[in-house]
């Protein structure tokens, strides 16, 4: 079994995020980390390797600046065997379609049986990358997997939908995005973290993937951001650290607002 996992580096949730006024892009110069939702996809792949398909090779695929090596290492430490890191200045400013084109081009070079993604990116809350990539690869797609079973060249997924739970079966190769309810990702042990750097890292450019740079990045973006504005807020938020009296203060607040009689 050959499994590819598309991962994304995102700003650390503890960092203050902002959008650059000039470029209208998310400023990515601060502390970055592996998208937490992607850890569920890696864990799902590791469980396949530990269980039904021990000969599985897990490939981490990412599009990110070269500086994202640490996040790639983090993904490898969690269970990836090798990485394909698309790093190219011309990829900067890619919108959803451009990003999907780049990932699909990298995935098309090899024959993967299963392509996994996390359910969404923690920075943009984008939840459509699986659908975009699957269509470009012309393979079936199942999103929001709450469980994955593999048998006889097919994948069977249980997923929650608006009306209950669906069980969906698709032929491999298939793109599957996993729900964050599918598993509890394990933290990699120290030797795995130390060993990640020694795993095969391949850094590729757009040209090496045969991508016309004018179809991706800022130059090829199909969407444009013409400006930014502030949404109407909910008003003031009171946030306090519990020092043992928070419950009392909350009740006083609710009484004052006449939410509690």
């Amino acid at each position: 079994m050959r499994i590819a996992i598309c991962v994304k580096e995102v700003p650390d949730p503890t960092a203050v995020k902002r959008i650059d006024d000039g470029s209208h892009r998310l400023v990515r110069s601060g502390e970055n980390t592996l998208n937490p939702y992607d850890r569920h996809a890696i864990e799902a792949a590791v469980q396949i390797k530990e269980g039904p398909a021990p000969d599985t090779e897990i490939t981490i695929v990412t599009m990110a600046p070269e500086s994202a090596g640490r996040s790639v290492d983090r993904a490898l430490a969690q269970g990836g065997d090798r990485s394909v890191h698309i790093a190219d200045e011309a990829a900067a400013g890619s919108d959803l379609l451009g990003t999907a084109r780049i990932l699909a081009a990298a995935l098309k070079r090899e024959l993967f049986d299963l392509i996994l993604l996390g359910q969404q990116a923690a920075d943009s809350e984008c939840y459509v990358m699986a659908g975009l990539v699957a269509e470009l690869l012309e393979v079936p797609c199942i999103t929001q997997a709450a469980s994955i079973e593999l048998a006889d060249g097919s994948v069977t997924v249980k997923r929650q939908v608006e009306t209950g739970y669906d069980t969906v079966k698709a032929q491999l190769p298939c793109v599957v995005s996993v729900s964050d309810a599918i598993n509890d990702p394990r933290y990699p042990p120290l030797p795995a973290i130390m060993g990640a750097k020694r795993k095969p890292h391949e850094v590729v450019t757009l040209a090496e993937l045969g991508i016309d740079a004018s179809t991706v990045g800022a130059a090829g973006a199909a969407t444009s951001v013409g400006g930014l504005s502030k949404p109407a807020g909910r008003g003031d938020t009171i946030v306090l650290e519990d020092d043992g009296t928070a419950a009392e203060q909350l009740l006083a607040f609710l009484v004052e607002k006449k939410v509690v009689a």
Binding site: D95, G131, E138, P140, S224, A247
Partner: protein, 325 residues
């Protein structure tokens, strides 16, 4: 000028209220742009007479693809149907209210057409003869004004962003079309379905909801949530993650795939507050969040947040509320 197509999702035999809300909003955009709006409906065994009523919500024509492949809730056959409709209709924009199926279908369509896609749109505007969306970002702290460079633009609106009215009672002509299905769209099939079972109180009617998420640590953590809900005279709600994990019944789920609730008081315990949860409860009167992670997105839209151990705060609050009688 070519018009706007709105993918209207059928759930349980009826077009979803979310789809109707987007159809009406598309109608306002279409009027401002001077272009017609058409409804695209996919399913199996559909009732044309019923679908004609979409004319009362702004559709000039209702185009219907009726095929067993479109009844499964799987997105890729719907991509094929939309692509077939696009060949005939030459639409400039596609829109859909976000759901599990429509988000995937619009993503597939955008990839197929080489069209730009904007997700999580909360407003639609006609500016300079083009559609410009407002896409919410960074925990709803900013609205990006996203437009399209590509010939076709695809918009997925945030669930519940546009409320549906009762319409004007009008009707529109219904025209059927036959999609051409791709091989990979037929390599995936629905093989089983369990309907959500309604158990316990109806949370959409509750005045106070106390909701639990992954931060409870384990299923037994709902014990203290139930005690607080009882003290408030309210009901218990839950996030998708804990429902999927089997900690609490589906009927208590709030969010995009669960219920939309608007209680006077919503107390979120151990809930990080991802967008899928937010869309189901942001209309609540007062929102309280208790979470040990001070960076949790829920604090961005709570009225009162407590950074702390819910195992300490929740029982204290329960005792205080009980003491007030």
């Amino acid at each position: 000028m070519a018009g706007i197509a709105v993918l209207c999702e059928v759930q349980g035999g009826d077009v979803s209220r979310g789809s109707i809300g987007v159809l009406e909003e598309a109608g306002r955009s279409g009027a401002a742009l001077g272009v017609p709006v058409e409804a695209i409906v996919c399913g199996s065994g559909l009732d044309d007479a019923k679908l004609a009523a979409l004319g009362g919500f702004g559709a000039s024509t209702v185009r219907v693809a009726d095929d067993a492949l479109l009844a499964s809730g799987i997105a890729q056959p719907v991509v094929d149907a939309c692509a077939t409709a696009q060949e005939a209709g030459g639409y400039r924009y596609w829109m859909a209210a976000a759901s599990i199926m429509t988000a995937d279908a619009m993503a597939g369509l955008a990839a197929r057409l080489g069209a730009g896609i904007v997700i999580d749109a909360v407003e639609l505007h006609a500016e300079g003869g083009a559609l410009v969306t407002r896409r919410s970002g960074l925990g709803d702290s900013v609205l990006a004004h996203c437009g399209f460079v590509s010939a076709v633009g695809v918009v997925v609106t945030r669930a519940n962003a546009f409320a549906a009215t009762d319409g004007n009672g009008g009707t529109a002509p219904v025209e059927r079309f036959a999609p051409s299905f791709r091989a990979w769209s037929q390599a995936v099939a629905l093989v089983g379905h369990e309907d959500a079972v309604e158990t316990g109180p109806d949370i959409s009617a509750a005045d106070v909801l106390v909701a639990g998420g992954r931060g409870l640590g384990e299923a037994s953590g709902f014990g203290q949530i139930e005690e607080l809900a009882t003290a408030f005279g309210g009901a218990v709600a839950a996030t998708r993650a804990v429902v999927d994990a089997g900690w609490y019944p589906y009927s208590a789920q709030v969010g995009q795939t669960g219920k939309t609730v608007t209680p006077n008081l919503y107390v979120a315990c151990g809930i990080s507050g991802a967008i899928q949860h937010k869309v189901g409860m942001q209309g609540s009167g007062t929102i309280v969040a208790i979470n040990k992670d001070k960076n949790a997105p829920i604090f961005d839209y709570a009225d009162f947040g407590i950074v702390g151990d819910l195992n300490a705060v929740v029982p204290q609050l329960t005792a205080l509320v009980k003491a007030r009688g």
